[in-house]
Amino acid sequence: MIDTIYVEKEIEEHPRTRSILTRFKGRREILVERYGEVFNKRSQNFRLQKRNPSLIIAKKHTGHILSTPQGFGIGGAKNFYFSHMINCVYDCRYCFLQGMYASANYVLFINYEDFISEINNLIFKHPEDKLTFFSGYDCDSLALEPITGFASFIVPSFKEYSSAEIEFRTKSTQIEFLLSIEPVSNCIIAYSLMPEIESRALDHKTPSIEKRINAIKRLAAHGWKIGLRFDPLIYGQDWEKRYQELFDTLFSSIPRGSIHSISYGSLRFPKEMFKAVHKLYPEEKLLSTIFPGDMDTVGYKTEIEDQMTRFCKNAFSRIFSEDIVFKCTTEATAP
């Protein structure tokens, strides 16, 4: 339960700020000049702050939309990402956000119009290219949707952008608004998935895999295009058996025509980020079984990585056309 909300003075009276504040009864509101005063200060502790994060309502001034790292994409000519929030309500032990910021507070940027305006500019600048925009890089796209209303603000705009696609990456089952509107054909709802047992051990505070699959089924039945994201792939005893079971469950319950794309990638962290995450959670088994590799990353040993990606490639190629299956490469570290 969020008990403290910091609000930048500049947007104190913004209607979205006022509306969000009314959702939290009994919370303490504290005014700040800029969100950097309370977010990511060096002496903050991500792990301890994660026990009771505060919400910070802020305005994003620059860098609304950024290019994705090399190797991150689902077939678009140019790929961009954006986040209307920093940090996530979930607490997944492989998430790079743990090592990215010293603070676990949620920052919500409420100037949604500026995100749309930047997207417009980019589409105008690249009229010949198919652009893909990824939402949910520094946060979960839908987890706080009932409070933020970000997706419901942005999705309808994409009806007009035939040359672009938008992906909302999520683990959330907050899908009511998506079920209440007509599906938008260039909008993909992409779910991060792994076998239930691994998820129980690593995906803290998230909906179970079973619940995610149920949400996928409902979205697909409503006509939304679905992305399936197996990134990171998690290694351990019986991993093949469990991933196969997961694939079988998914592919037997979701109509093939609803699946827009599948992507997969091995667990990996940039070295410096890994150091920070491992220092925060030294008792975490997952982090004790990955090692620095040849590139500037930390991950499973090459033979394990190869074994896992080969397994996925084979499993997917038996069912799907190659052009909807994507392997995330080392440079791209997805949340």
Binding site: T4, Y6, R28, I30, V32, E37, V38, K41, S43, Q44, N45, R47, L48, Q49, R51, N52, S54, P195, I197, E198, R200, A201, I234, Y235, G236, Q237, H278, K279, L280, Y281, P282, E283, E284, K285, L286, L287, S288, T289
Partner: protein, 279 residues
């Protein structure tokens, strides 16, 4: 485990210290120190009396840090009296915003506390003031204390607690020493709860940051170079996560030197395959 929990108290006045010292069984520690110093028998609680003002608060906090060898999982607490324009005398507040009057800079304490205490903003003044406002408290130490303590521990383990002692109807000059002690005494149970509560949070930091005992037992067994010591530390941390029931020292019984010891630990870790259903 004498360095856990580690609690360090910084108070401005003797009468504020009196009740805290008594409650946590602290007695005078040294005679010739720049700030009066007290600690309990186990050395887990330390307290210093800074005197009034920002510079005193900052200097006393640093002094206490050094003299008590406060580890990074230390809980830092500043308790003191404060002025208020609107709150009843004797009310206790957890401070969540402190503004330095002279620079107008603010800091935002947010300890990882589950005990519920009413919250307030605080303005740290350079000199006693009489312009009481309703929406914040006034003191002369809070900002400096928090600013310095934030460099010594993580913010989630730092608390600033203020008890309203004066206001428009009660002049700060008229506050008697006895009254101050009584005000603190009124909240001593809350202070105890706060310590217990934060101690459990601080344990997470202790477990995370203290050097494992296994490291000390192995590093004295053979000659380790500095690089090897670093490698050993990392391997023991991984070992502890993967094999909490197995002592690393038992794994190196058949080794003759540092290099072999590292190799033995590395081999164990390399061959480990997580059983997720047993986690």
């Amino acid at each position: 485990m004498n360095d856990y929990p580690a609690i360090r108290w910084v108070v401005a006045l003797k009468p504020e210290a009196r009740i805290i010292r008594k409650n946590f069984n602290m007695s005078s520690s040294t005679q010739n120190s720049p700030y009066p110093l007290f600690k309990n028998a186990s050395g887990q609680h330390w307290l210093t009396i800074s005197g009034v003002g920002r510079i005193n608060a900052a200097a006393a906090t640093i002094y206490l840090y050094q003299i008590s060898k406060a580890p990074p999982w230390t809980i830092w607490i500043n308790v003191g009296i404060a002025g208020s324009g609107g709150s009843p005398i004797g009310s206790l507040y957890l401070i969540d915003k402190i503004t330095d009057f002279s620079t107008q800079l603010s800091v935002f304490p947010k300890p990882a506390l589950s005990v519920s205490i009413p919250r307030s903003s605080l303005l740290t003044l350079d000199a006693p003031g009489e312009n009481y406002s309703r929406d914040q408290l006034f003191d002369m130490e809070g900002y400096s204390f928090f600013e310095i303590a934030s460099k010594l521990s993580c913010q989630q383990l730092i608390l600033v607690l203020k008890i309203v002692s004066d206001g428009p109807d009660i002049d700060f000059r008229s506050i008697m020493s006895k009254n101050v002690s009584e005000l603190v005494a009124r909240h001593i149970e809350v202070l105890s709860n706060v310590v217990d509560d934060l101690a459990s949070v601080s344990k997470i930091e202790y477990d995370r940051l203290h050097i494992p005992d296994a490291y000390n037992s192995i590093v004295t067994k053979y000659h380790f170079t500095e690089t090897q010591k670093h490698q050993l530390k990392k391997l023991i941390i991984r070992w502890r996560a993967l094999f909490p029931e197995r002592k690393p020292v038992d794994e190196i019984v058949n080794t003759n030197n540092a290099s072999m010891a590292l190799k033995a630990l590395r081999a164990g870790i390399d061959s480990y395959k997580i059983k997720w259903d047993k986690k």
